[in-house]
């Protein structure tokens, strides 16, 4: 399984996780959280980041007990063949649904902002096709690509930073106006945007080095995401007055729309283009996890490459037949709850089982 030829470095893991985390949630995050937590939305986001970190820690504890197994490999060991297969199936389905949700959100945002007449299935087809092209390759190549396009995040930060020319810090005062309960509720809405670190469960054995380094990598990745999100949310909060914020579904994008330079105007179009790249990598991350799951469903410990075309086709079919905006909303709500089950619930239960029954990886059973 842990063929050294296809292992990635912990440094690459940082980028893999970050790029999977930052994605479609970035634009809508502010307004979603602001609806609940008002001016304290940025605290909610920070809180969500910390919570995500706790989840990462649980995942790490679990994966550490099976250093050369992926989630799919030790599920049958822990839960028995049938339940294990079932959970594996559920995980795969979850990843496929998340991937579909990303595409749906992506295409509807693009539809609203730029390509309002282009049929959605074409946009969906292009983005799926591009994903397929990459996830047919080894994890190492995927990691290389993710590292390469990381500069998009930096560019996003730089563009956002220009909004500081016209801000009013009074909008977020007084800190704590919403109350702890509302802030926590806001954190719930932000949790969704942080999803992506479950990649750790799947790639844990594929990373070189000791488990401490892997935890460090995941921490760094989550930290970057949390900082970026907080920065983005904070900036939107101080640019728009609260009543205006309620009207804007994508404040971040709206904010950059008014920026003007002597060479560039309408920065939102450039911003969207960069964001498209970021979203695509996030989609690729989920597609990778899903195809790994799909491949393992049919043949244990097999490569994700063979399953990639089927995964992409499945996701494409789902998104093409599932375009009702109301349904997408419901879909998003379901996923935000399913989040906790898959990112925290199941790994935690598995961890408990593994401790209680003292199940760890048996040396030599790998090959």
């Amino acid at each position: 399984m842990s063929n050294t030829e296809y292992q990635i470095t912990p440094g690459q893991l940082v980028f893999l996780i970050t790029q999977t985390q930052i994605g479609v949630g970035l634009l809508g995050l502010t307004s979603k959280v602001h609806n609940v937590a008002k001016g304290d939305a940025w605290i909610s986001v920070l809180l969500a980041g910390m919570l995500a970190h706790l989840f990462i820690f649980v995942m790490w504890c679990l994966s550490r007990r099976f250093p050369s197994f992926t989630l799919y490999d030790y599920l049958p060991v822990l839960l028995g063949k049938y339940i294990g297969k079932f959970i594996q199936f559920v995980y795969t389905a979850y990843f496929i649904l998340v991937a579909s949700y990303i595409i749906l959100q992506f295409s509807s945002t693009f539809h609203d902002w730029v390509l309002s007449n282009t049929p959605r299935w074409i946009i969906m087809g292009i983005i799926s096709g591009v994903c397929l092209y990459l996830i047919r390759e080894s994890l190492r190549t995927i990691a290389r690509f993710f590292v390469l396009v990381f500069f998009c995040n930096i560019a996003v930060i730089i563009i956002t930073a220009y909004a500081y020319l016209h801000v009013n810090f009074l909008y977020i005062l007084p800190v704590g106006q919403a109350g702890i309960w509302k802030i926590t509720e806001g954190a719930h809405y932000a949790m969704n945007a942080f999803a992506g670190y479950e990649l750790l469960l799947i790639t844990f054995p594929l990373v070189e080095g000791g488990s401490a380094g892997k935890l460090k990598a995941a921490t760094l990745a989550n930290l970057f995401t949390a900082v970026l999100y907080t920065f983005a949310v904070f900036t939107s909060l101080i640019v728009f007055s609260p009543p205006e914020m309620e009207l804007l579904p994508q404040p971040l994008l709206y904010m950059v729309k008014a920026l003007t330079f002597s060479v560039f105007e309408r920065l939102d179009l450039y911003f969207l283009s960069l964001w498209a790249v970021v979203t695509t990598t996030s989609l690729m991350g989920y597609m990778f996890m899903a195809s790994k799951g799909l491949a393992n469903l049919f043949r244990a410990q097999s490569n994700h490459q063979n399953a990639a075309p089927y995964t992409v086709a499945l996701v494409f079919i789902i998104v093409v037949f599932f375009q009702n905006p109301l349904l997408i909303d419901v879909f998003g709500k379901i996923l935000s709850i399913a989040n906790y089950v898959f990112l925290f619930g199941i790994p935690f239960v598995l961890f408990m089982i593994s401790i209680l029954f003292k199940v760890t990886e048996v040396r030599g059973s790998t090959e």
């Binding site: 440094g11 690459q12 390509l115 292009i126 390469l148 396009v149 105007e265 309408r266 179009l269 283009s273």
Partner: protein, 510 residues
């Protein structure tokens, strides 16, 4: 499927299946001169450039054969006739030694040599024949290659002879570790090719891989290095070249010293360097003859040219047909004015102009020197001005396309320049369909392809993907020589360290 294939491939002639490599049975030398000559003439199908000449070695009837098209007359006089005349009374052995003749007893082998320009001496009654090298050589002088000119530095260039080329390389690396491996390639052509590497630097795995790929070539016609390239490269259908061509010995030497392998072939003045990365195509020996700041600046310009030549026309098309909102207020009026009465959509305009420029370029190469230049000027000025006046193409588009064309010729490597010129068409089409969205996705596809691509096991887009900042010192920017402590990692050299701390103290004291 089968029917379709038959319909569209017009395959009326059936090729005879290729025989397995036939091993020729050795043919011993006949005792009689006549028989030998008879045999040789039969074997070469009485080709008319095969000449026979009798020489009188005292006490022996002897005759020699040579192909006059391949031989140097004065050499025949020097090497064959003169020793015989000088040693009128000497014994046969003495004559043969002064002729520097080699003995052969297999006529089949001798035929191959004969074709190469050796003379064969048959002596009545001997079971051996003697082969004397009288090859005529017409070697171009070592001049600076036309397509890789530099401002400063060495002005040597490779020629078509492998021996001279190797000499040019060895002259600069006087090192026992420099190893040359010879291959005979092509079942019909039997042309000679060598790989050169430094034993103590080049990765053994890499050497093995190169060796293996060359050994696996089983083709009739191999006549030049560029043909070998297609047999050994990783992905033939990738738009990016995966082996670096060069005609400059200093470039070859630099790469050898980084632990790469170089392939030279008889008859072509091009050396192939492997493995290479994308950025190697954007380096020029000039970078090293400039000081580090200037060198880095030039490299930046070249990489910038890559971005311009792929992205600029697409960006312009996307802007004028989708997102003209991004044009600043003050620029909008001139651009709007220039596109107002153009009958075609921008993509057609751009394709028309780009193709015109490609035509001009191609025509400029084919035409003789002075005319070529004229065509460039006539084409550039007259067509450019006329199409704008006729209202077929807008002024802005002319600027964009001209800039792009200039940018695409900045690349020091000819093959990379060609692939960049080709790559921008799909990006342009994507931009005309989806605006920025199309550009972003076509660029993503190109980037993914660069990430996937490998050249002899080396990631093609190193050191950017996989990221290795240490190697940026000599790829994207150029640090001063004394700061390059390590060789670049992409050919996986055996020794990474390049120097310890030369020059550092002096810098530190300042």
């Amino acid at each position: 499927m089968g029917l379709l294939t038959n319909m569209f491939t017009n395959n009326r002639r059936k090729s005879r299946p290729m025989l397995k490599k036939s091993v020729l049975t050795p043919q011993p030398v006949f005792p009689s001169v006549q028989e030998n000559i008879q045999f040789m003439q039969e074997a070469l199908f009485h080709t008319d450039d095969l000449l026979r000449q009798t020489v009188s070695i005292p006490g022996h009837t002897s005759e020699f054969l040579f192909m006059y098209t391949m031989c140097d007359q004065s050499k025949i006089r020097e090497e064959i006739l003169k020793p015989i005349l000088d040693n009128r009374d000497g014994d046969l052995e003495g004559i043969l030694i002064s002729m520097r003749a080699n003995r052969y007893d297999d006529l089949e082998k001798v035929i191959d040599l004969l074709v190469k320009g050796y003379a064969v001496l048959f002596i009545e009654g001997m079971e051996e024949c003697f082969v004397i090298e009288v090859k005529s050589s017409h070697v171009r002088s070592v001049t600076e290659p036309n397509n890789e000119k530099t401002v400063e530095g060495s002005h040597e260039g490779f020629v078509e002879s492998i021996i001279i080329n190797l000499q040019l390389v060895r002259k600069h690396i006087e090192n026992r570790n420099l190893v040359v491996k010879r291959y005979k390639l092509g079942n019909e052509t039997k042309s000679e090719a060598v790989i050169v590497y430094l034993q103590n630097l080049a990765n053994p795995k890499l050497i093995n891989e190169v060796d293996c790929r060359i050994q696996n070539i089983d083709a009739d016609n191999i006549s030049s290095a560029e043909i070998i390239e297609e047999y050994i490269e990783d992905k033939s259908f990738s738009p990016f070249p995966q082996l670096l061509h060069t005609e400059r010995p200093d470039r070859v030497i630099g790469n050898l010293l980084e632990g790469r392998v170089v392939l030279l072939a008889e008859g072509s003045s091009t050396a192939l360097i492997m493995p290479v990365t994308f950025f190697a195509f954007y380096q020029s020996p000039d970078d090293y003859s400039f000081r580090s700041l200037q060198g880095s600046f030039l490299r930046f310009i070249r990489l910038f040219s890559f971005v311009i030549s792929i992205g600029l026309p697409a960006y312009y098309i996307a802007v004028v047909s989708f997102h003209y909102e991004v044009i600043p207020q003050d620029l909008l009026l001139p651009i709007k004015r220039s596109v107002e009465h153009i009958p075609y959509p921008p993509i057609l305009e751009a394709l028309f102009l780009e193709l015109t420029i490609e035509l001009l370029r191609e025509a400029g190469i084919r035409l003789p020197g002075p005319v070529g230049q004229t065509i460039g000027i006539v084409g550039g000025l007259v067509i450019g001005d006329a199409v704008v006046k006729a209202g077929m193409v807008s002024n802005a588009m002319i600027i964009v396309v001209a800039l792009t064309a200039i940018a695409s010729f900045v690349v020091p490597s000819h093959e990379m320049s060609a692939s960049v010129r080709m790559l921008r068409f799909p990006v342009m089409v994507a931009a005309s369909l989806f605006g920025f969205f199309g550009i972003v996705y076509s660029v993503i596809i190109i980037l993914i392809h660069l990430c996937i691509l490998e050249s002899f096991g080396t990631p093609y887009f190193a050191p950017v993907a996989p990221l290795r900042l240490k190697d940026w010192k000599d790829t994207i920017i150029r640090f001063p020589q004394w700061m390059m402590k390590q060789r670049s990692n992409d050919p996986a050299p055996q020794k990474l360290d390049l120097q310890r701390s030369s020059g550092e103290e002096r810098q530190g004291n300042e």
